[in-house]
């Protein structure tokens, strides 16, 4: 096992990202005080942030609050608070942390969070969200709108699916007009959709840079850091500027072939959310093997763009509907996820797949044993399956996890050597 290399991104965009997110939290804090601008609680998956632009409203993402809390090692207290009021050990810890914070008045940054103008449950795939947002509405008294997005039963949505979502998006517009007292600005909405398609093009190019060896960034750990602006600023000029800067910086690294590690030893694809309470510890376990993630499914929760989809300013409502229905990992069916990972392995040239089962999220995790079966037995791709949680620190067993990860890379290493030996002999 090699000495431990630096396991963090070296560059300027991470700082820019921090500033952008801080600015967002400050605007939320301002909204909490003045009621302006209006805010809408949404879930990250298949969010329709462009629609909010039409009202000059800004999004609140309970998941972002929850994960920020976990990264800062502050998630257990609110989780316990929620369990005291009756939430079960088996309930999603994101929800418990979020509700717990609400009860205890905790926020990740210490700033205030406004009572949302509307709780918009843009439920895509995750049934838990329906409950979560219902509870948020019940505890905050904020109005709730459930945008029922049909799950992708087949490979593409039917016209009925698209019409259904478009109809509901327009119902949301009407609802927001009454709640905010503002007229929906269609042009601003369309402009926002246009920005989104630009951001998506840039983000997609960034994702494809990871095909280089060495990869200029870690498409799991680093991608997660870049996701914040993707959800909050996607429909804005700031978003376009940020991702243009990101693309430039990473392209430079490719030119000088600067990788995440001085020497890239393994290329992996990661499935599943990270254990945020042990984010750094977890990353170090891969860093010690100089294993870099070249792609990840989790970074496509907000949207799947590396395979070509873009929002379309010519059909803003339809393209927003299309994005919610078919272009984010959570509303796509399970077998489509198998295929997404298969493409990553083959087109991004990876040595193996890491499946991280998280207790909280059955959307991600239920059936990952079968996924593993598909990759190891049908495709012959080495696959590691490990378990913990994305929010609850009580389910991360450091020694066990490290042991499994070390064993996995030992076997990859051995396979490489055996192969080399076979050639030399």
């Amino acid at each position: 096992m090699a000495e431990k290399p630096v396991s963090e991104y070296r560059g300027s965009i991470h700082q820019q990202q921090k500033d952008l997110m801080l600015d967002w939290y400050q605007r939320l804090d301002h909204a909490a005080e003045t009621g302006e601008p209006p805010t809408v609680s949404m879930m990250i998956s298949g969010n329709c942030v462009e629609l909010l632009e039409g009202f000059g409203a800004i999004p609140q993402y309970p998941e972002v609050n929850a994960l920020q809390l976990a990264i800062r090692h502050q998630s257990l207290e609110p989780i316990l608070a929620a369990e005291e009021m009756g939430y079960a050990g088996d309930n999603c810890a994101y929800v418990k942390a979020d509700i717990g914070c609400m009860l205890k008045g905790i926020t990740p940054t210490g700033g205030r969070l406004p009572k949302p103008t509307l709780v918009l449950c843009n439920f895509v795939g995750c049934n838990t969200y329906v409950k979560w947002f219902e509870h948020v509405a019940a505890f905050t008294g904020a109005p709730l709108f459930v945008l029922d997005v049909p799950f992708l039963r087949n490979d593409t949505p039917s016209q009925a699916d698209i019409d259904y979502v478009v109809r509901q998006l327009k119902e949301v517009v009407v609802k927001l007009e009454t709640l905010t007292g503002r007229k929906f600005d269609y042009d601003r909405f369309r402009q926002s959709v246009a920005y989104s398609s630009e951001v998506e093009e840039l983000w997609s190019q960034i994702k494809h840079l990871a095909k280089n060896s060495p990869s200029p960034f870690d498409a799991y750990f680093d991608a997660i850091t870049l996701m914040g602006p993707l959800y909050v600023y996607r429909g804005k000029r700031e978003g376009v500027e940020f991702f243009r800067a990101a693309l430039n910086e990473l392209q430079q690294k490719v030119k000088t072939s600067e990788g995440v590690y001085d020497q890239e030893r393994f290329r992996i694809v990661v499935e599943g959310p990270p254990p945020y309470p042990y984010f750094r510890t977890f990353r170090d376990m891969f860093a010690s093997w100089k294993a870099v993630a070249v792609a990840s499914t989790y970074s496509t929760v907000g949207g799947l763009w590396e395979f070509g989809f873009r929002h379309d300013a010519k059909n803003p409502f339809e393209s927003v509907a299309m994005h919610m229905l078919a272009q984010n990992v959570t509303n796509r069916n399970y077998l489509q996820r198998y295929d997404q990972i298969r493409r990553y392995v083959q087109e991004w040239n990876a040595d193996g797949v890491i499946i991280h089962f998280v207790k909280s999220c059955r959307l991600f995790s239920a059936g990952q044993g079968d996924m593993r079966d598909y990759f190891t037995k049908q495709l012959g791709v080495p696959t590691l399956y490990i378990e913990s949680d994305l929010e609850d620190p009580r389910y991360f067993a450091e020694a066990q996890t490290k042991n499994r990860i070390d064993a996995f890379f030992e076997s990859l290493e051995h396979a490489k050597r055996t192969a080399a030996h076979a050639v030399s002999a």
């Binding site: 939430y87 995750c126 069916n333």
Partner: protein
């Protein structure tokens, strides 16, 4: 009518038969006819029936199947019914079925749908998106969704589903559901005439037999039961809440009664009484089914109508049956039930109703822990 007593045992036998002999028998009697199974909770069985096929509602494997393969596909923290259903598939128990339908009840069930689809390509496996909202566009959407399923079912059976046939099926299931509603009224009125486990067996047996047969059995039951000997007993009237998908062991329901509870309402095998009223037979039958689902379904943790909170539905149940307590019977790892528990508990506390939370798995062999908790609950209500 005395011989009706023996019916319970035969129904129980059928209920516990994992070889689905009744389904095989039916298929033998109807050469070439097919059978379609549904994963809980609700299913538009009328569509299958109208296509001349036998709809069967799966309810896990109870304690009659050991998990020897399914853990390799589904990891920790996944409920038992997901694993036993996967195990049934992996051990050939689902062989009598030509199709398997899932619906949007929870994330685990949905993923199971696609896992089975991958492993058993020869089988028709489909996923039905039941709306989580109750706007008019939801009705419109569900109508379209049912039409989509209808086309698939027609492809499976090889026969088009005629509107008349569908109306006939709807009429039959209307009768079945109204008989089940009567059964529940009788039980709520005089629990000493019909024990909870008996009524459970009576309605759940409808899951795997032709609706025509089930209607006959229900009629006989309703004729006989009022004449049944039995004396009122000193017991606490309770409502069971939360066991709408994975089903608790029969022994657990008996245990509740032996500990001094009269179960006057429950959500066991809820699909058999899904609609609060008949499905209209006039007009477009597909639209009628969709419209009934969106506007006239019973409340359930897996169906969302934000204009009528589910906990109000529970409160209404309690009032109408004059229940004295609520027992939350929740399957291990059942996320929908556990989320609802928080808001339901808030409601029962407001109503000043005593409640007890019991966690179960479909497979249990020793009941001492649970018995102690139930008896304590009863003791806390009877001892002064």
């Amino acid at each position: 009518m005395k011989q009706f007593e023996r019916t319970f045992d035969s129904l129980l036998e059928g209920m516990q038969d994992l070889s689905f002999a009744s389904v095989r028998r039916w298929k033998k009697q109807h050469p070439g006819a097919k059978s379609v199974a549904f994963f809980p909770v609700y299913a538009p069985v009328e569509l299958v029936h109208a296509a001349g096929m036998l709809p069967v509602l799966l309810s896990g494997a109870g304690d009659r199947l050991d998990i020897q393969h399914a853990d390799s596909r589904f990891g920790s923290f996944i409920c038992s019914i997901i694993k036993t259903t996967m195990e049934m598939a992996m051990t050939g128990h689902l062989e009598p079925f030509d199709g398997l339908l899932f619906s949007s009840i929870c994330d685990s069930a949905r993923n199971l749908c696609f896992v089975i689809k991958r492993n058993y390509p020869q089988m028709y496996v489909d996923f039905l998106h039941l709306p989580h909202s109750t706007s008019d566009s939801s009705v419109e959407f569900l109508t379209e969704e049912y039409r989509r399923i209808k086309v698939e079912l027609e492809r499976l059976s090889g026969e088009p589903i005629q509107p008349a046939a569908l109306r006939h099926s709807i009429a039959l299931y209307n009768i079945q559901r109204s008989l089940v509603r009567q059964l529940y009224e009788l039980r709520a009125q005089s629990p000493h005439l019909l024990r909870a486990w008996e009524s459970y067996v009576l309605i759940r047996s409808g899951n795997f037999m032709p609706v025509e047969e089930h209607i006959e059995i229900l009629k006989q039951a309703l004729d006989y039961l009022p004449t049944r000997p039995g004396k009122k007993r000193d017991a606490i009237r309770v409502v069971i809440e939360g066991a709408f998908c994975e089903q608790p062991p029969l022994e657990l329901i008996r245990l509740l009664e032996n500990a001094g509870c009269d179960v006057v309402e429950d959500d066991l095998a809820i699909a058999q009484r899904w609609f609060t009223d008949d499905v209209p037979i006039s007009g477009d039958p597909v639209h009628a089914l969709a419209e009934s689902y969106v506007h006239r379904s019973v409340y359930s943790s897996v169906r969302h109508d934000f204009s009528k909170p589910r906990w109000e539905g529970m409160a209404e149940k309690v009032r109408s049956t004059r229940a004295e307590a609520v027992i939350f019977l929740i399957a291990k790892f059942c996320e929908p039930a556990y989320f609802d528990f928080v808001l339901f508990k808030k409601k029962v506390d407001e109503m000043g109703l005593p409640h007890l939370l019991l966690e179960f798995e479909e497979k249990l062999f020793t009941f001492d822990r649970l018995r102690t908790e139930v008896e304590t609950f009863v003791e806390s209500l009877v001892f002064d």
